[in-house]
């Protein structure tokens, strides 16, 4: 997943998605609708935390730049549906062996051709342990991948310049859906001889390219201009995009108000209450592919077995999600009804057992009493969180509500920094429930379930394990028909709703706004504006 830059937002996981049509008037007597194809759009960004190498970028600041300057095998439209970009076709009979054919005559912005080696070499580099790539886990399902030692991806075979085959460790029908994520982007020949230098001035094959050698002014901005070599569907409708790096979202918002910024993709907390009134139909506020929950570790006393099931359900029913999202987040969160997100294909708000996510204090008290009959409660219920991420408000609201409903001690358990918090979670030394968030890497239900709740999965921080859930997950992953697969994943979620390894809270919304000079501002499924479609008067 991509993490938001910690310093910039002070919001740990305050992110953003949506689509909106524009209806702004022109005041300069210019043409309506068309826009000036040479106008440069200014948008907010943050200094990439790493050199711009696709497999080493796991945060939004660098991620949205990479998405602009690279074209993967597929790209996602505003609804998250994949379309072929560089790929001519991605074929499989068994969801395990894939043959990928590239469109002919694709070029990088420096004129060198995009071949199957551009992909295969980049993936091999990204997966190799000793290259220390932050996104290496994306290749884990390809045959030959190892977390523990340097190991070649033996599942990748170049057939000819325009095609290659991929063999996975097991059938995974949503593999093609992942290929639009930045870790799977191609790299030009020679880029990896000096990855650090390449990352300073990356050459890509996307709709945009860096504006000369000094395009990236560190800590200040990065400017991209249309790439004449790009032949796909995402051709730029403007004269370029200038990513302005802001230290705080408040400064970005002030620039939007002052007319120095065209598009803002995350409104600061301080403007949650006012931005929709101020920007009217130029404000965007709707659910994004970001799921927020708090995890109750399986090893926590009183929270395992039948007793644990009762207590988890009781806690889930003892706070009012709607009220908290309305009051604390001013409607910039949407109460959760499942473990995924409404913007993902296959989402359902009618899962069996989803009523456990409704506020129901009477039932909560009953369940808690039933659990007490098994083993009397002692101690205090706490939720751990990082205090540098703006989480205190909702943690206090939930724990107070739990306290009042169930009549037990409940409170927040703040950690000074995100680093301190993650250290305790990773080392399993945390002895309370703790906040968990997930921003999807690619638009599929599986991405919200497999990495977090499968037995010993990489982000299974609560050490949840259910053979029933694992079996459904595996069945869904191997099902080639996407609708059938989604139905199976929904069943898997119904298992989660019973076991509640994590208590779903809400989906973060994308909350953005744009200036009067720009039109055609749509937000992608991943909360990032679709830059190439924006036009400016």
């Amino acid at each position: 997943m991509r993490t938001i830059k910690i310093g910039s937002a002070l919001g740990g996981l305050v992110l953003t998605t949506a689509l909106v049509l524009t209806g702004c008037a022109t005041d300069s007597g210019g043409t309506t609708g068309g826009g000036d194809s040479s106008a440069v759009i200014t948008v907010n960004g943050s200094e990439p935390q790493n050199p711009l190498v696709p497999t080493n970028t796991n945060e939004t600041g660098g991620g949205k730049i990479l998405d602009a300057i690279f074209a993967g095998l597929v790209y996602y439209d505003a609804e998250g549906a994949p379309h072929n970009d560089v790929a001519e076709s991605i074929e499989t009979d068994d969801s395990q062996n894939y043959t990928i054919t590239l469109k002919a005559d694709q070029k990088f912005s420096d004129g060198t051709p995009v071949t199957s080696a551009s992909f295969v070499d980049a993936w091999q580099y990204g997966a190799l342990l000793s290259n220390e790539q932050l996104s290496s886990y994306f290749f884990e399902s390809i045959e030959g991948f190892s977390y523990d030692e340097d190991s070649e991806l033996s599942g990748l075979k170049i057939v000819d310049d325009n095609s290659f085959t991929v063999k996975l460790k097991q059938p995974e029908s949503d593999f093609p859906l992942r290929l639009g994520y930045s870790a799977f982007f191609p790299l030009p020949e020679g880029a990896l001889d000096d990855a650090a230098a390449y990352g300073e001035n990356p050459i890509g094959n996307g709709p945009y390219m860096l504006d000369g050698d000094s395009a990236w002014k560190h800590d200040v901005s990065l400017k991209v201009i249309p790439n004449p070599e790009y032949k796909g569907d995402r051709v730029a409708q403007n004269g370029g995009v200038d990513f302005i790096f802001y230290a705080t979202q408040d400064a970005a918002y002030a620039d939007l108000q002052g007319g120095n910024l065209d598009v803002l993709d995350s409104v600061p907390d301080s403007a949650f209450a006012s931005f929709e009134g101020e920007f009217g139909d130029r404000a965007i506020n709707q659910p994004a592919a970001i799921f927020q929950s708090f995890t109750i570790p399986q090893g926590l006393p009183h929270f395992s077995g039948e007793e644990g099931e009762l207590r988890r359900a009781a806690i889930s029913m003892s706070f009012d999600r709607q009220q908290i999202t309305d009051v604390i987040f001013e409607g910039t969160r949407t109460p959760a009804t499942d473990f995924t997100s409404p913007v993902i294909d296959g989402y359902s708000d009618k899962l069996d057992g989803a009523d456990v996510l409704q506020y129901n204090p009477d039932e909560a008290v009953k369940l808690w009493a039933a659990a007490d009959a098994i083993s009397p409660w002692d101690g205090s219920f706490q939720i751990g969180y990082n205090a540098d991420g703006g989480h205190q408000g909702w943690v206090d609201a939930i724990t107070n509500s739990v306290k009042n409903t169930l009549g037990i001690e409940a409170s927040g358990n703040p950690y000074p920094t995100f680093a301190a918090f993650r250290t305790d979670v990773t080392d399993r030394t945390i002895t309370t429930a703790f906040r968990t968030g997930w921003q999807a890497d690619y638009p599929a239900l599986y991405n919200f379930l497999g990495p977090i709740y499968a037995t010993s999965a990489g982000s299974n921080d609560g050490d949840y394990s259910s053979s029933e859930f694992d079996a459904l997950l595996k069945e869904g992953a191997g099902e080639p028909d996407i609708d059938k697969a989604n139905a199976i994943f929904q069943k898997a979620q119904e298992v989660l709703l019973k076991d509640l390894p994590a208590i779903p809270m809400w989906y973060s919304n994308v909350s953005g706004a744009y200036g009067a000079d720009v039109e055609n501002v749509k937000f992608g499924w991943n909360s990032v504006p679709i830059y190439n479609e924006i036009t400016k008067q």
Binding site: S8, L129, A196, T248, A251, Y415, A419, S459
Partner: protein
């Protein structure tokens, strides 16, 4: 005098060593593992995390880490950030911006503060004096972020006189607004000190003598009152310079100035020891040098002051 300056400069060396050690230890003692945070909520592959830790010597005990850092410094290498940039590059890029901002703020502070203080002192207990007292109280009691947000909102968004934030190259005209904010944050002290000092000197014997000699009032005020009143004020402004370089963080954040404050803040959040230590050490040195400059200026303004061997 030269001997004195040399001795003061030599004093910087132990202070430098002490400061780096202390600050390095403080960053080291920050809770949590910075590498664990790099992966966000997903967490990193443990083998990759270990490799990165080893690259930054984070797997070594504290003193070894510190020695690695010192070794780097003596070979002209201030270390690299987690994103692979050289700390010296970042310093070279951000320090001039903050320096420029601080110098502008000092100039504004000096002109506004001394002028208002002088007039207020000359017309003691008059209307102007009372108003300046009120103004000083308001400025002194206002936190800098209130001042900054207010200025940004009024002059940037509502009136449109200034750019809401500072753009990439931080040109002088865009730095005017943040410089005023910084200056007004500290100007009240200058006003009050100048006023008191002027009032004191107006009653001094040498001023009475000058008046008796028949010198014109403007000349008396310029040469005898003002110059003597400036001695304590210069000390204050000199130490303010260090304060402004260090304290620009809030203002830089609000106006998005690409200076040291912003970078340091980010580095602290990420527990990036080389960046934090190098920056803070530079701050310490700037502070020491600006104090030295003040002491030298002092002798220049007041010939009675002589520094012994």
């Amino acid at each position: 005098m030269l001997w004195y300056i040399l001795r003061r400069v030599l004093q910087v060396i132990p202070v430098f060593l002490g400061a780096t050690l202390l600050i390095y230890f403080m960053v080291f003692a920050l809770p949590g593992d910075p590498i664990a945070a790099l992966g966000g909520d997903r967490g990193l592959n443990p083998a990759v995390a270990d490799a990165i830790r080893a690259r930054y010597h984070l797997d070594q005990p504290f003193f070894i880490q510190y020695l690695y850092y010192l070794q780097g410094i003596f070979t002209g290498d201030l270390g690299t950030t987690f994103s692979g940039q050289k700390v010296s590059d970042i310093l070279g890029r951000t320090l001039p911006v903050t320096f420029r901002l601080a110098v502008m703020a000092i100039i504004i502070e000096a002109i506004v503060g001394i002028l208002i203080g002088l007039v207020a002192g000359l017309r003691k207990n008059g209307v102007f004096d009372t108003v300046s007292l009120l103004l000083s109280l308001v400025l002194i009691s206002m936190p800098i972020f209130v001042l900054a947000f207010l200025a940004q909102f009024v002059f940037g968004i509502k009136l449109g006189w200034a750019r809401t934030t500072v753009s990439g190259d931080a040109p002088l005209n865009e730095l005017i607004l943040p410089a005023f904010v910084l200056a007004f944050f500290v100007v009240a002290n200058v006003i009050r000190l100048t006023r008191t000092s002027v009032i004191e000197n107006l009653d001094a014997d040498f001023v009475r003598t000058a008046t008796a000699k028949g010198l014109s009032r403007p000349r008396i005020i310029r040469v005898h009152v003002l110059r003597n009143s400036l001695i304590p004020v210069v000390t204050l402004i000199g130490t303010d310079f260090g304060l402004l370089i260090v304290g620009a963080t809030v203002t830089e954040g609000i106006f998005n100035v690409p200076g040291v404050g912003n970078t340091l803040f980010k580095a602290i959040i990420l527990s990036e020891a080389p960046t934090v230590v190098s920056f803070v050490t530079v701050f310490v040195i700037v502070y020491l040098l600006s104090n030295l400059l003040v002491d030298v200026l002092y002798a220049f303004l007041d010939p009675r002051i002589r520094y012994g061997k």
